[in-house]
Amino acid sequence: MPREVEPSQNEKQFFTKALSENIRIDGRAFDEFRELSLEFGDEYGVADVRLGKTRVLTHITAEVTSPFPDRPFDGLFTITTELSPMTSPSFEVNRPTETELLLSRMLEKTIRRSSALDTESLCLIAGQKVWSIRADVHVLSSDGNLTDAACISIIAALQHFRKPDTSTSGEGVTVYTLAEREPVPLSLLHHPLCVTFSFYPPPAEGNEEGEGEITLLDTTHLEESLRAGSVTISMNRHGEVCQIAKLGGLAVDAVTLLHCTSVALVKVKEISAFIAKRLEQESRRKDVDGKMKTLLSSENARIPG
């Protein structure tokens, strides 16, 4: 099967030369993200993130199932990633590539293992009925930095999602439709985001001792294929690190890593603020003339008891 053409010698040489002159191919600063855009769907829990030419769409769905017998109080939360041939011909259906495995593993560690979603709040009747929340991540186009884009997309979708309201009476659970009762947001404990740093060996001319490797943020596909190593740091906007993943590659100085975490915090704060801003704009867009509150209150008043 013919593969993707690797970057040519000319591109590699030009890229290294440009880096040594502190220039990136697309003219960004080393720690600058590409233009981030976030759109929400008409349904709850659909978030479409664009980071330059990378585009990731996440769809959150909820259904009522029975919990695992060993965890009767915990709801289910699954993240499924899909890299279809639409993204790039190198991805085949039903045959996960290394990229896909690493991506889903990273999202799992960042969002699920750090218990961003409070699974206990998804319990309806202990041991019998719980909510199962499923996040489907579709990568629509890939131009590098999939992990960060996918993470932004899931976190934004989870915050946008509303699950149907329910009431329990004894053994019975009533799930109300969107028309009957206002759906309720998920209980998120924190909002972790990933920031991926790519490392490049220092240019040969600057042979000074103190000079370390070059670190780039939000790499494009070309930059990603030329990097010597990468570190993905996940943290929330309070600066709590959820995980650090460094999968082989260039040896990185401890001081550089510390510096990376502080840069990551700045970026995570920026992105969190952006998501919050977009969510607020979205809720204002749906809430025409601010009538939602009065409408809802009168609705509730009519329910007896």
């Binding site: 013919p2 593969r3 993707e4 053409v5 690797e6 970057p7 040519s8 010698q9 000319n10 591109e11 590699k12 040489q13 030009f14 030369k17 440009a18 002159e21 220039i23 191919i25 697309d26 003219g27 011909p89 190198s90």
Partner: protein, 243 residues
């Protein structure tokens, strides 16, 4: 000649748009389909172009992947070397084209160029067949001269759309293709060297990194944002100012 007519797949074409010639038969180019007896419909969305002298009509569209055609100039990446041929990739996910090691200007068994894996060559396609791998050459077989073809050293490769590559390669890019950004940059004193491959690759080289990137970015932005002539001039001035 590009007309202002925009066609959609399945449109019925106005017979007046088609060229007529007393002797030559009508030649249909890419994007058109002849349904016997006498219907011609577009199969893609794009701009209808006609050439009255050749009695040809085709649809100019900006998309799809590159399909090799005889006589096209392409920028290929050398993958590996065999006994007497190099294998070079023209586009992603297609099998490699073969480039005989003796088809360079003045190449003999002893003086043939040594190309390592990852080198770029500017070559002409000599064989293109649906069922066979394409073949390339870097020398004109009739004159024995390179005519600008051969290995590309230094510089940087930029990806553009196929439509943009065609526009840049037109005999009069300014009038026919409405690309003025390169002329503008040249007029503003940026010296550069450029090679355009029909496979959507543009190779740019100049004295320093910044001007190479400026030229590459000018072409890519013109392509992606579909800039008009005035906007291209503005972009060129902005890029030169930043140098």
């Amino acid at each position: 000649m590009a007309t202002e007519t925009f066609v959609l797949p399945g449109d019925s074409l106005d017979p007046e748009l088609l060229p007529s010639h007393p002797t030559l038969p009508l030649r249909l180019g890419p994007g058109l389909r002849h349904i016997p007896p006498s219907t011609i419909t577009p199969t893609v969305a794009g701009q209808l172009c006609t050439d009255a002298r050749k009695n040809a009509v085709w649809v100019e569209y900006n998309g799809g992947r590159y399909i090799p055609t005889i006589g096209d100039l392409v920028i290929a990446t050398v993958q590996r070397s065999a006994v007497d041929v190099y294998y070079a990739s023209i586009s992603d996910f297609t099998s490699a084209a073969s480039l005989p090691q003796l088809s360079f200007e003045g190449a003999t068994k002893k003086t043939r160029p040594q190309l390592s894996s990852g080198s770029l060559v500017y070559a002409r396609i000599t064989l293109a067949n649906k069922h066979m791998d394409p073949e390339l050459e870097c020398v004109s077989s009739s004159t024995g001269k390179s005519e600008g073809l051969g290995p590309l050293t230094g510089g940087m490769l930029f990806d553009v759309s196929l439509g943009m590559a065609r526009r840049l390669m037109m005999t009069k890019p300014v009038e026919q293709g409405r690309v003025v950004v390169l002329e503008e940059l040249g007029g503003l004193g940026v010296a550069f060297e450029i090679a355009v491959g029909r496979n959507g690759k543009v190779w740019v080289d100049s004295k320093n990194t910044k001007s190479t990137l400026a030229v590459g970015r000018a072409i890519q932005e013109t392509d992606e944002k579909g800039l008009k002539i005035e906007e291209q001039k503005k972009l060129a001035r902005k890029l030169v100012k930043d140098l």
